[in-house]
């Protein structure tokens, strides 16, 4: 294909297809030209690439290059089959300049080429023709957090998001994971996308540690990585508060401006139902008729990011079915990972004749709640909340959806509110979907790094838009003995609109780990 006849993805209609790295980064809605400029060479501001000289511990390095790699001996050549391999055209966009290296969390930790976006793309290219799919190749793709900071950083517009998703789907299909690895992953996917199961499991996980089951397992010498992974999972689980039920239908305050659907999600509803309640209240206060379909399920984000293609497509289809019926202006999402996947449906279902068009229409309606509120314009009165809050960019909101300024703007509209920026804002906190459970060691190091940077701001609370980030940062802070109240932007807006005292917000509802 020559340059001229390669279709320009920016010319098509769908947002996911329609945008590329630079546009997602420089999203002009709510972003001033100056701020876009500050995104110059890769980061939210030019000073903001991986700054600390902190390197990985030897323990963590053992999981990429050392003895602790989960090897199964699986070998397939060539690495990829013809069903959506990582696209050669997209690989060729990479000119090997290396601008992605300092924003890549694993490169920041390990300092080696194979665990950088540039290196992973290089391996994908080799996998197309010259190299097999084996333990080594898979290890380095597995270690990618999928944070997409590299997509923001890339001046050539390499669509690493599409490349790694395609690669992961191939890995899940063509690579035989070691039995314990496979079982653990299966357990995650039988658990997290299902609210009722997740609710049931949260308790036993605590018991797991209390009764020292992990120690016994280690003593028995079986399932080498399982204990560490289970510990990581347990440490992330917050105490379950009383789950707030979300009404299926909520009328707007005053005149109806929009009719919107709300994704209540799986993790969000089980652990952070108060975020969903707040989201519904804020939307209603801003004049939205809010529909929260009762039979909605998982949006498929976790499965998509892990390469579980069939499963993810089924979740996507079901979600489209559920919301399509409701005749909505928009579908509003308050979890960054879910929102980015739902915007991606059009791309994911591009091969499905029955769903391709519907997915396109659906994806076009999906908005992150901060993005939605800024676009619609706000009317409800904000009461003062005198508090200094650190805003943490969720990767799937900032890098994948290009939503950076909207939540900050929304928070700054609250009188008395001060927003503190976190150093190394571009670097992932280590949560990354299921990453902190399957790769607990590097995730813990990234979590600690993020927690330290958060503490440096001196903020009284942390505001962030993704349940995974909340769990991860809180777990890291807890380990350091420095817990800080956390909230989703909508919870802050809700408190402000309702005129609640700032103390209520800082009492840390729901997140007492």
């Amino acid at each position: 294909m020559t340059e001229q006849d390669r279709p320009d993805p920016r010319q098509s209609g769908n947002r996911y297809d329609a945008t590329d790295a630079a546009e997602r980064r420089d999203d002009q809605s709510g972003t001033t030209r100056e701020q876009a400029a500050a995104g110059a060479i890769g980061a939210g501001n030019p000073q903001d690439v991986g700054q600390s000289t902190l390197a990985a511990t030897t323990e963590s390095l053992q999981h990429t290059m050392g003895k602790d790699r989960p090897e199964s001996g699986s070998y397939t050549f060539p690495a990829f089959d013809s069903h959506h391999p990582p696209e050669k055209d997209l690989i060729d966009d990479c000119v090997h300049c290396g601008f992605c290296l300092p924003t890549c969390p694993t490169y920041v930790l390990f300092g080696e080429e194979m665990d950088s976006p540039r290196g992973r793309i290089y391996l994908m290219n080799k996998g197309l023709t010259e190299e097999p799919m084996n333990d080594t190749m898979v290890r380095h793709w597995d270690l990618c957090l999928g944070c997409m900071a590299c997509v923001t950083a890339c001046p050539s517009g390499v669509q690493y998001d599409k490349l790694i998703e395609a690669t992961r789907a191939q890995v899940e299909r063509r690579y035989d994971r070691r039995a314990d690895d496979k079982a653990f992953r299966e357990m995650i996917f039988q658990l997290f996308p299902y609210r009722s199961r997740l609710r049931l499991a949260a308790g036993p996980l605590r018991l797991y540690q209390r009764f020292g089951i992990d120690k016994k397992l280690r003593k028995a010498g079986v399932m080498s990585r399982l204990p560490a992974r289970m510990r990581a999972m347990e440490a992330l689980m917050p105490k379950l508060g009383k789950e707030e039920k979300i009404p299926e239908h909520t009328s707007p305050t005053g005149e109806r401006r929009r009719r919107v659907g709300v994704l209540t999600g799986c993790v969000q509803q089980v652990f952070f139902s108060q975020v969903n309640s707040a989201t519904v209240r804020v939307l209603a206060a801003e004049g939205c008729e809010v529909v929260a379909p009762k039979n909605q399920g998982c949006c498929g984000a976790l499965s998509t990011h892990a390469g579980r293609e069939e499963e993810s497509l089924n979740f996507a289809r079901k979600t489209i079915d559920t919301f399509e019926r409701e005749n909505l202006d928009n579908v509003v999402v308050n979890a960054a990972g879910c929102g980015s996947t739902m915007k991606e449906y059009a791309y994911l279902l591009r091969d499905d004749p029955e769903y391709a068009e519907r997915a396109k229409r659906f994806s076009a309606k999906v908005k992150d709640v901060s993005e939605f509120l800024q676009e619609m314009g706000t009317v409800a009165e904000r009461h003062p909340l005198p508090v200094a809050a650190a805003y943490h960019d969720a990767c799937h909101l900032a890098h994948q959806q290009g939503v950076r300024q909207q939540p900050r703007k929304a928070l700054k509209q609250i009188p008395g509110m001060e927003i503190k920026e976190i150093t190394e804002a571009e670097v992932c906190c280590g949560s990354a979907g299921i990453y902190n459970m399957v790769e607990p060691e590097p995730a813990a190091e990234l979590g600690e790094r993020k927690a330290k940077n958060v503490l440096k701001t001196g903020a009284q609370m942390i505001v962030t838009s993704n349940p995974g980030c909340m769990l991860q940062i809180q777990a890291s802070l807890k380990k350091m003995g420095r817990e800080i109240p956390m909230a989703h932007p909508t919870e802050v807006l809700d408190a402000s609109i309702r005129g609640e005292p700032v103390e209520t917000l800082l009492s840390g509802r729901g997140l007492q780990g």
Binding site: G39, T58, G66, G98, G119, L123, E131
Partner: protein, 484 residues
């Protein structure tokens, strides 16, 4: 030593996590920022201390194994290209800032420290590190030292060599030496630091580097001027510098380049055949006066539009466009081949014209982005590697561009280094005797030709060989090597 034994030997010093030896992993190291040349190294090692580096080099020295040092792998001349059956020493895990000494305006860092970290570290104190290659967010100080990196501001502030005060270096035999000064600005004896900086990894591996810090200028003024042809822009450059102004930077981009960066990072540049970005810095009054004269010079050269950066954000926007230029080429072309020749400033117009002609003759696109102030060109020959023969054609065109520059009294490279890529052109610029003199130095540091061998010089003379009538080297006499 067999490969297996070598791996074991390295692992016993560095731990398993410090040695990369699986083929798939090694492949990711087969090229640096220049993808045209690829060699899979035998082994990659990731030292964390100077002692590690010494241990690695000692093994190599004793076993006669060649080695190559690599930083972030962003070099554009293949300087960090591995050698066959050699060891690649990657310094990206040596990234500690060791000492910040603001009163003496110096900082001591390990080689893997990224260029911009240095400025970040001292920004709060009102200082910065001047050399700013476009790759400054990723390229390492060790790599900058090896390549004597420049950057957009080197017109006024000089290259890396003007900012390195001293270095701790592991030589090819594994000994650790200190070159250059410590706290005092100057050291007696030979100026070896000048030889080391820009030696492209052929004289040793720096493990600790002392850099000079500069105070941030009191005032900065940046403007962008658009022109309807490159020659007019060239005239403006001559007028500005001829008028006695030394700008912090003058950069030029042509239409193709503007198109690429507009697609990539949307700096909002005007449509034009050429754009100049001029930056002035220094004391407030001086900047103000020179800024007015610069605007006048651009107007007299018929600039179609002049934009003045109102604040830091707008300045960042101008530079964003410039610094992303190379990387943005991926937007308009699958592959590109970049040259880095320098021509006398007065020849700029003529050379650019000839480059355009050459592009037309070859039927290929050439984008130009360059440091206009010091005549350092960066012609980017655009091609598609998937089309058979196109890469070779691009290389030939790039070669012709180099010859054109040399004909106009220019030089092969301004800041990217000779490396693997441009060594074949060395005889066009230097006589045999010139190169033999350089080899004398190299051989003094690395008599066994182990330290990044095969780079810089086209057909490396064996050490001990002298310029002049042919005399057989002892190694050749013993039948151990051939001259070719």
């Amino acid at each position: 030593m067999e490969r297996g034994q070598l791996i074991k030997a390295m692992e016993s010093r560095l731990g398993t996590e410090g040695v990369v030896h699986e083929r798939e992993q090694l492949r990711s190291y087969e090229c640096d920022g220049l993808m045209n040349y690829r060699v899979i190294p035998d082994l990659v090692v990731l030292p964390e201390t100077a002692e590690h580096v010494q241990q690695i080099v000692r093994i190599c020295y004793e076993e006669g194994i060649p080695f190559v040092a690599r930083g972030s792998g962003t070099g554009l001349s293949g300087g960090a290209l591995p050698v066959e059956s050699g060891v690649l020493i990657v310094l990206s895990r040596m990234r500690k800032i060791l000492e910040v000494d603001i009163p003496n305006q110096r900082i001591v860092v390990e080689p893997g420290v990224i260029n911009i970290w240095v400025s970040q570290e001292v920004a709060g104190e009102g200082y910065y590190y001047a050399p700013d290659p476009a790759s400054q967010v990723v390229s390492s100080i060790g790599g900058n030292l090896a390549e004597n990196s420049g950057g957009v501001h080197c017109l006024k502030y000089g290259f890396t060599t003007n900012h390195v005060m001293g270095a701790e270096v592991v030589l090819a035999d594994g000994s650790l030496v200190h070159i250059g000064g410590g706290k005092a600005p100057d050291a007696p004896g030979y100026e070896l630091l000048g030889a080391l900086v820009g030696s492209e990894g052929t004289l040793g591996i720096a493990t600790k580097i002392t850099l000079r810090l500069l105070r941030k200028p009191e005032a900065v003024g940046t403007l962008l001027a658009a022109f309807s042809d490159t020659e007019a822009a060239g005239d403006a450059v001559s007028a500005i510098i001829g008028g006695g102004i030394v700008p912090a930077a003058i950069e030029m981009m042509d239409a193709l380049c503007i198109e690429a960066v507009e697609t990539a990072v949307h700096p909002g540049f005007p449509e034009a055949e050429a754009i100049l970005i001029v930056e002035l810095d220094g004391p407030e009054a001086e900047v103000e006066d020179q800024f007015q004269r610069t605007i006048k010079a651009c107007e007299e050269a018929n600039a179609s539009e002049i934009r003045i950066a109102e604040d830091d954000a707008e300045r960042a926007l101008f530079w964003k466009g410039r610094k992303a230029a190379f990387a943005a080429m991926g937007r308009i072309s699958n592959d590109y081949y970049v040259q880095d020749s320098v021509v006398p400033r007065t020849e700029l117009g003529a050379v650019l014209k000839r480059i355009n002609q050459l592009g037309e003759e070859y039927g290929m696109r050439v984008a130009n982005v360059f440091h206009a102030g010091d005549g350092n060109l960066h012609p980017l020959v655009l091609y598609n590697n998937d089309n058979p023969g196109e890469a070779e054609k691009a290389e030939a065109l790039a070669g012709d561009i180099v010859f054109t520059c040399l004909e106009h009294g220019g030089s092969l490279t301004g800041e990217h280094g000779i490396g693997e890529d441009k060594k074949k052109y060395m005889p066009k610029m230097f006589t045999e005797d010139d190169m033999a003199t350089m080899q004398l130095l190299r051989c003094a540091f690395d008599p066994h030709n182990l330290c990044n061998p095969g780079k810089i010089f086209p057909t490396p003379r064996l050490c001990g060989e002298r310029p002049g009538p042919f005399r057989m080297h002892p190694v050749q006499k013993a039948g151990l090597a051939e001259n070719f």
